[in-house]
Structures are given as C-alpha cells and as structure tokens.
Amino acid sequence: MDGADMARAVRRIAHEILERNRGAADLVLVGIHTRGIPLAQRLAEALAEAEGPVPVGELDIALYRDDLDRRPTTRVGATRIPVSITDRVVVLVDDVLYTGRSVRAALDCLADLGRPRRVELAVLVDRGHRELPIRADYVGKNLPTAAAERVSVRVVEVDGEDGVWVGVEQ
C-alpha cells in the first residue's frame, strides 16, 4: 500500500462512517497512540469535507495493557478527548488490527472516561491472528499475513512517509 492507496482508503472509510451513522452528528474520532492519532485526524479532515467538523481525541493505552510485565518500561502518553464521550458514537482508530489486545485495552480505557452510546472500530490494516473476539467495523485493507511477518504502517506525521510494509521478523 502506498501513500495514494492510503489516502483512498481513508476517504472510503470516511464515507462508510457517514453512511452507517447517517451523518456526522454525535461522532467522536479517537485515535490510539501512536499512529492511530494521525489517521484519526485524516479521517476527520475527510469527514469535514463531506459533512462538517468532527471532534478528534487521542488515547494512550499503556496503563491498560495486559502485558506490562513482559515489556520493558512503558512510557505514558497523553489521553485527550476534547468532548465528553458519554452518549456519543466513538469511532476508535488504529493503524493495524492484529491480536485485538490493544483494542481491548482501549475499550477499557474508554469505559473509565464515560459511557458512549456505541463504539465502532476503524483500522487501516487488518492482518488477522485475533486472540480476542474483536472485529473492525471499517477496514482499509485486509492483509493476510503469517504470524512471523511484521506489518508496519508508516505515516508522514510520525515516520516522514506514508505506506504499509510487510517484512519478516528478524
């Protein structure tokens, strides 16, 4: 997937979001650290062109991970959502959907921040290998992979370029 493919996927997902929710009223986009945040902002831009401004927030799930004991010390990032999520429709945005554990952590974090009317999930890439009963509502690209492969999504805002790469874990 190159930059143009990514831009098309973002536009399509924006339209699917509007279709399913019959407009952008009550929507909040919430990006999961790190690369979910720029993707959420791009979705918001696409939604703004079609319908009007949608609030964008960011979520750091470090404190909700179930594998803290197995990782080197995690840094704590910012969680900022400009509006109350209670009774709104939250669209969680992440770059890659893999085991589903990050999404589980994000759902727990959202529950501590309020009670959304509904939570939906948008991802740029779904690479399979779920370990929890979680699925995405909006998918940029389904990418069948082997567990040993590494999928890396790169975005201009963080990595200086747009694109999706698949490689073999060293």
């Binding site: 750091d60 470090a62 404190l63 909700y64 991970r65 803290l68 004991d69 197995r70 990782r71 080197p72 010390t73 995690t74 840094r75 704590v76 990032g77 910012a78 969680t79 900022r80 727990d108 974090c109 501590d112 921040l113 309020g114």
Partner: protein, 305 residues
Amino acid sequence: MRHLLDIADLSPADLAGLLDDADGFVEVLARPIPKVPALRGKTVTTAFFEASTRTRLSFERAAKTLSADTMTFAPGTSSLSKGESLKDTVLTLQAMGSDLLVMRHQAVGAAERAAEWLSIPVVNGGDGAHQHPTQALLDALAIRRRFGTLEGLQIAIVGDIRHSRVARSDLLAFSKLGATVTLVAPRTLLPVTFADWPVRVSSSLDEVLPELDVVYLLRVQTERGGASVFPSLAEYTTRFGMTRERRSRLKRDAVVMHPGPMNRGVEIADEVADDPDALVLEQVSLGVAVRMAVLFRLLGGESDA
C-alpha cells in the same frame, strides 16, 4: 532504574522522562473515574519511621490510583517497640508479599541500606537531612507546568538548608534540569561543606529577590534544632521571611513555593501562603501524579528486569 534513592542517581533525561509520565498521570487524576489498572495485583508497602502526612498519603493514593494494593507499616504499634532490628523489619515486610517498599527514616542512608537487603524496589520517602527525591520531582513538575521549562530560571532556596533533605534533593533536580539555584541562608543554617554543589550562595534574600523566578521557602525545622541557631523566630522572619512586602518586590510572574507543613507568620506570611498564585497546594496535588510516575516506572515494566 531499579530504586529511587537519591536525585544524584538520575540523569537529566531520567528526570525529564519521569516528569513527562507524571504529566500523563495528572490527566488520569482528572478523569471521572481516576483509576487505571496498570499495577493490578502489585502491593506497595509504606514504612514511615518518622512522622509524615502528605508524603505517605500521597504514595498511598498514587498506588491505589494505579490499582495496586497498599500495606501500611506503623512503627509505633509494631514489634520495633520489642526491639526488632530495621533489617528484620524490612525483610518481614518483603516476605509479607510487598512488591515495593516506600521508606522514610530519620537515619541518613536508611533507604539505601534497605535496598541492599531487599530484592524489591525501594523508594526513599526521606532519610534524615539527606534526600527526599519525590519531593524534588514534584517541585520540578510544579515549576515546569508553570513556566514550561526549568531551563534558564533563577530559583532561590531559602532558609534552613543545613537540616533540609528537601533542599539537598531540590537543588540537584533543579540544576540538572537547567535552572540556576541560589541558596539563601545565614552561615549558621548552611551545611559545613557545600563546595561540590552546583549552586550560588547568598546571605541576603533582599539582594537576590528582584531577579528570581521561583522562591522556594523551607520550613524552620524546630524538631531538628533549626530554630536554636537564631536568637528568635521574629529575627528569622525579618531577614528571611516571605512577607507581603517582599512578595511585592518579586518579578510579576514569579512564584512562591513551600514543601509544607508551613509555619505561617515565620517563613511565610498568611497573605503569601493563601495567594492564589502561590504553588503550595498545586505542589500537593502534583505529588500524587509524580509518585504514580515513580511507582509505574519501578513496577510497570518486565518483572524480572
């Protein structure tokens, strides 16, 4: 980072990293449900062999906000009164299932000794007149949140430097983060040697007042003999007290800090303490966030690291 014993052990990057994490925890504490599951199943034990209100409570609140369990060791009602040694006491607390020990003790180096005896992380909650690292972290955080950075700030620490672990910790943290620190005290309240400290020294608060961004007032520690070197508390106030009149000679955006508990009318006047611009209460609430950052750093990573 395995323990937090002394600010001297931390690099400027370590300090900045802890403050960054603490900023994240300030947000957590402001949530409708201020609780995160990060340290579920861990037990934080506080053992304060010397009196404390805010430090112990603040550690307990920090631990609970991170979903850790807490145990409190109370020396007054313990087997210490039957003559149990410090080493046996802390080994017992570890054997009881503590994952981290926060310790305050009147003896310099007590937390460091405990860290040698134990296999769990130890946090120094104050050892004699030596160190109080989490106080320095929260003070640095309060200043950074007010000014954006410590780089280039002029900070004076005023009062009983000799008996103050807060001063020893703060001056190291502030200067590592780029501030210029001036100790303001009469010769009798300065330590015997301070040649290797990165500070300037002055005996006149009035002289340095106009250039300061932060005035950090220390408590006159009557329990450590801090008052005995002065003829009277009134004379202390005359020379080093932050009166309303001195406050008015500070720069417009300068702030007044105090670690508490305050001796109102001695080192700080009522009007200055209660001024909404003073950082005193802000220091207390940031203390919880900073201690969360410390607990998370020491317990939040690989358990066998």
